[in-house]
């Protein structure tokens, strides 16, 4: 248990809790971005530099920004008027806590292997070669998935001018 790991985990837990509990949605999104960045740092700390950088690039650069945009587009939220949590929050807390307990029990009771010594480091070159040889088919499929998601996202988010709802919105 190194100091770095401890600091990072505390930051992570605090950030995640803040991201899930704050009232102001923009604050939530910013906290989330921070959490993702810390995730990236942890990956780098675990000698997976490329993955860590990708994590920061994709999550902080794209997903967090996407969440921010979504929050800004979905305007009209009543901040502060009502609680950000659902009414039956006690049940939720209970279930989540139960889940955490189960995970914890599983982790602690299972016989985990000892980490191998002499951990190396993987270069982007190796990842690139593997992606282009062994994992080329999954890569293509993921590319297809991203394309489909892109088209689907655009299609869903597109304003349909002739729908009744839009007319109502305009009238308002």
């Amino acid at each position: 248990m190194s100091l770095t790991f401890l600091i990072l985990s505390i930051l992570l837990i605090v950030g995640a809790t803040a991201a899930m509990t704050l009232k102001n949605l923009v604050h939530c999104a910013l906290c989330l971005a921070g959490v993702f960045a810390i995730f990236g740092l942890i990956f780098i700390y675990q000698n997976a530099e490329f993955i860590g950088l990708i994590q920061i690039l994709v999550y902080v650069g794209a997903v967090a920004v996407l969440i921010l945009f979504a929050i800004m587009l979905v305007k009209g939220d009543k901040f502060g008027e009502t609680s950000p949590f659902i009414n039956s929050w006690k049940l939720g807390v209970f279930v989540s806590f139960l889940l955490f307990l189960v995970i914890l029990i599983c982790v602690l009771t299972s016989k985990l292997p000892q980490p191998t010594e002499g951990v190396g480091y993987i270069s982007a070159k190796v990842i690139g070669r593997e992606l282009m040889t062994k994992y080329v088919l999954p890569l293509e499929v993921v590319g297809l998935l991203l394309t489909a998601a892109l088209i689907g996202g655009v299609f869903l988010a597109l304003k349909k001018e002739n729908t009744l709802t839009n007319k109502k919105i305009k009238n308002e």
Partner: protein, 680 residues
Amino acid sequence: MGWITKIFWLTAILPIVAAGLISVLNKSKKKTAAAVAITSLSCSCLISIISLIKVIELKTTKSSAIFITNFDWLNFSGLKVQFGFILDPLSSSVAVVVSVVGLLIFIYSVGYMASDWNFTRFFCFMSLFTGAMLGLIISNSILMLFIFWELVGLTSYLLIGFWFNKPSAAAAAKKAFITTRVGDLAFFIGILILFATTKKLLLYDNGDGCLEATSLKLVCNLAIFGGLFAGTVISILIFIGAMGKSGQVPLHIWLPDAMEGPTPVSALIHAATMVAAGVYLVARMEPLLTLVPSGTSGISVASMVITYTGAITALIAALIAIAQFDIKRILAYSTISQLGFMMMGFGAGGMAVAIFHLITHAFFKALLFLGAGSVIHGCQGEQDIRFLGGLKKYMPITFAVYAIGMMALAGVPLFSGFWSKDDILHSVSLWSVSKIPFYIGVVASFLTAFYMTRQVFYVFMGSYRYNKDSASHSSEHFPHESPAVMIYPMIILAIFAFGLGFIGCPFLPLIQKFLAYTEIEHKPDFFIMTLSSAISISGILAGWFLYGLKPVKSSQHPDILELKAKPFFNVLNKKLYFDEFYEATVIKLTGLFSELCLWIEIHIWDGLVQLFSRSVVLFAWLGRVWDEYVINLGFDTGCNGLRGVGQGISLWRNGKVHRYISVIGIAIIVLVLWVVWLAG
């Protein structure tokens, strides 16, 4: 150039592929459609010319120049349906004529059809039409030939009825299709009998085809239908098919009506594709048609039938043409008449004579039709020669090329029509059976020269008599010369119409030697040559005397022949009452028969059907009672129970997302615990 024999079949496939391509084009892509059609036809034109050169080369060095490529189309056990392509002097020369004339007509159509809204469809059909004809020419299997034959029929139907919103065009298309169907039926029966007797479909197959010695011997000695020889029956049936396509009397009635189509279509039908198919079929089947039972010698029955039919057709059509007023209809009857000449020439003088006339005729008739189209185009669709006139002044180039075509058709010495017609008259005069066809031929040639002169004087001389009643002429309007894209094809055709005859003139009978299977002695016969020149010139003089000396003044003025011999003219003007005759006999009988069928339908079949349906209704009623009172009762009870359970369950699904998620969470917890306990 051996490769050309391998790809010769492309000549037919290219236009068909082009037709397929054009059919998926957008309607507005006029230029692309025309380009695709013309390019593909140019390619097949090139291929056919190269293969013709190859065949000529082989014919001069070796005596045999037949290439065949056969392949199995269907292979049942024991029965093989074979298709194949043939490249020989006959197919290569006719393919060249068809593709060249077709190409010129295509180019012309670009100008003629420029403003038509169905331009792409037109080129699609035209390509398919030409491709089907080329396919017919290169077929080496009688079934494949029949398939392309029917394709030609179908596309001619589509093209004659191209302006289908015009009722007369739709009717003409139907008429053409049904009339040729009569011939096609006979042709098909002929094919079936031929297949039944010889078990062969290929025409040439290295001694094993149905036009080769073994089969011919079999066919001509087999007696069927009590005394008739199979060979004779098959020949006559095949000739009836050719009669339908080539417009021989009495199946000629569709050809004048086919003028309802656009003029390039008429040109294609009359010059290169449709009517040539019949003559080509006869020429292709020559070994079978000229067959006489072994042990006897002389002229075969089929040849005699063909000669007489041809002669009668030539005369009747020429007579009718005298009294027509529609510019295209006159040309249509002249085509029928010339086809009669071809058939006559075939019967008396063999395939080479007929094909020579077919080739020259293809060029000058295409020229005449395109000229007529140019006239119609320039005069806002006017086709009645009484309302034309004096066009020499307005359309000088059209007049010049039209005059060349007219002189070729009339048989003025040195023009191509003169040589080929001379060849026919020469062979008919030597015919051993009878001299009657020869006399008929002489009269028909005289009439040909006469009616063509009449037409030219009506259309191009005198003064312009526009139709005062017609709305399109209300404004100040004068005919105009056609655009260059229409003029140049006509000029090229005019050169051919003049010069092509020299390849077969009696002094240098190239084409006869090239086509004929056996060597024939050709000597120039100066008596016949003088006679036919005299006939054509006297015909032209007679026309000039009647129509040229006193030009027609007004459109209301009756025809000069009508004044002189009214009943005679009227009968001819009514086309010898052929249509009325069919109306009164065939169509009436068909009508009566269908009335009879209707009566049987109503009174006999309908009663049976009613009885049956009543019993079905009764049965269904019984079934319903069973269903409603026995089955449904049990089923309803089950359903109600099920619905109650469903209502109970649906209470749990309250539409709250968070509830669902917590259920998922609990499920995960339970699952994990279960798995852990199981494992542990």
